[in-house]
Symmetry: C2
Subunit: 341 residues, 2 copies
């Protein structure tokens, strides 16, 4: 067994009590586990570190963190996936939940419970994907001071506070790149500001690859972002629900978009775009207690505006023509310069 | 001249250059200035302190703070009130701007520029009014560290962070109260949590006065919050604009609602409710630069949900029947209690 290939030990499966009835039965044959090929955000299974595994048959296993976050995410999936107030269409925006399974850890530290979820890139050969963390605040209100300080520093330096969302990771199919994908490093993505975010959202739906250095052509914008089952339509469905739902508040959760350039480029006008949009990462979900998730909702609507801009404004700078200028930069505000006695 | 009565000195008026053409001419007679009777939030003109003045003829004068905030608010009004991209209907949600005027300060410190605005309670005899500061974040991103720390502490301890809005002040007509109004002190309002906020939003539209200690009857909810020109309809108009507008971001701005119980209670079914809703306080407005004001927008939508709840749920606890429970309080989550090895 190589360090990154794991055998699934069915005998150690731990299905949360009370949910077994709704969980599908797992296949009997022992699947081979390996690190996911197309992960762009979160803990990565590299160089023997602890990270997620996939079984190549449609399941994604996320190891439970020992600090309670893993347990919280399991609780979320257990409760949410069977809550009668969640419409089925909304449930379809979440990865399907397959219980928890005890598997050998990817870091060689022995057996550990893993959250078993739908593998969102299963079936894609060359998936382009982007992970966008939603919300202007990534910390729940009851956070420890340490966690609050860590998060708010990151929220202020990234686009989280300014845009209400930030890109956490991206990979774009690019035949010229070594691995077949353009995939900026975590440290590059970490310092994305608003203009970088605009650019990457345009590159994500362009025919010309990011590595050619040219302006993104946005050639796939209407196919991926537009259309009846494109990103914008799906985000608007989510928006409608978030405008009303007071069940849960989602902190640090992401929208994950996956599509395949070839499939979209060769798509028939009437056909489905095959664009997959899911919400992921629920380690910081809180009870809503009758209050809408205004933080997630505001960020989602900000993202919707940015995505609409890519479709409606092919040149990408239309917003500049319609501004209010409050600063004195060009001297036209000096009329207010000497009002105090 | 008593300490709180001021004579308007026309000779010292300072109309911002470039805006004089759009400003109405002031009446020639010298109006008498006095502190506003119905102010519930902001700096109050009490005991000779620096605060706003009204002329009893429809104008409200706000002294310019010396720290730049006053100047920033003047800049906002000058630019916004004549910006071609602002629809007239949206402009009607803002107090009309009448330039800046140098007037004697209410604290006796001599002449000082004042922002001249429409007096929003002019024409009301016994106005009930509420000031609701919108947004989960009250500080602009470029704030000094001191200002940021001060604001975020306040945002976390009030309902600003949790609800996306907080009540800043309220007065409700109450014949039993000494002054004819129930008006909680600033220090009382400062510590309002979510249940207090729910209660006050219900008391604000109840026939039974807050001082009787009974459960608010919400007898005026449909007349004040509902209807074609009620609070909800007006908030939804604003919401539509904020969902798209990328001109400006409003931090620490408030929604102010004013109405008169007698007028609303005696209202004909077809008549106008006479409910006035305006946005106020623009000392912390920033350029939007193509990004929607997701912070204000999210808070506005959270308020809309709370106001809808008052109309749709006369008992006030309907939200409790539709909850997701993630905690272990009643033991039904213990299934997730022992997942770690």
């Amino acid at each position: 067994m190589t360090p990154n290939i794991y055998t699934c030990r069915r005998s150690l499966y731990a299905i949360p009590r009370g949910t077994a009835g709704v969980l599908p039965t797992l296949p009997m044959a022992e699947p081979m586990l390996k690190p996911p090929e197309h992960q762009v955000a979160g803990h990565r299974t590299l160089d023997g570190k602890l990270g997620p595994l996939v079984d190549g048959r449609g399941l994604f296993y996320k190891p439970l963190q020992g600090d309670g976050r893993g347990k919280d995410e399991v609780t979320f999936y257990s409760v949410f996936s069977s809550h009668p107030a969640v419409p089925p269409r909304i449930l379809s925006f979440f990865p399907r939940f397959h219980g928890t399974h005890v598997l050998p850890s990817s870091d060689g530290s022995g057996p550990r419970p893993h959250l078993a979820l739908e593998d969102l890139v299963a079936g894609f050969r060359f998936p382009s994907l982007i992970d966008i963390k939603i919300g202007a605040r990534t910390w729940p209100l009851g956070s420890s001071d340490d966690y609050f300080r860590k998060c708010i520093a990151r929220d202020r330096e990234s686009t989280t506070a300014s845009l209400g969302f930030r890109i956490s990771g991206v990979q774009i199919q690019d035949p010229r790149a070594a691995a077949g994908f353009w995939r900026p490093s975590k440290s590059d993505v970490r310092v994305y500001l608003i203009p970088d975010t605009r650019r990457v959202l345009r590159q994500f739906v362009s025919m010309n690859p990011p590595s050619d250095g040219a302006k993104p052509d946005c050639g796939l914008a209407s196919a991926v972002y537009g259309g009846p089952d494109g990103v914008l339509a799906q985000l608007r469905e989510l928006k409608e629900w978030f405008e009303e739902q007071t069940l849960l508040h989602f902190y640090s959760a992401s929208v994950l978009v996956v599509y395949e350039k070839d499939a979209v480029a060769g798509q028939q006008p009437e056909g489905s775009s095959g664009v997959r949009l899911k919400l992921v990462d629920f380690a910081h979900v809180e009870e809503g207690n009758g209050v809408i998730d205004h933080n997630f909702f505001g960020g989602l609507c900000s993202l919707i505006k940015f995505i609409s801009d890519v479709i409606n404004d092919p040149e990408g700078d239309g917003w500049k023509s319609n501004r209010v200028q409050l600063s004195c930069e060009n001297g036209n505000m000096e009329k207010n310069g000497n009002l105090m006695p």
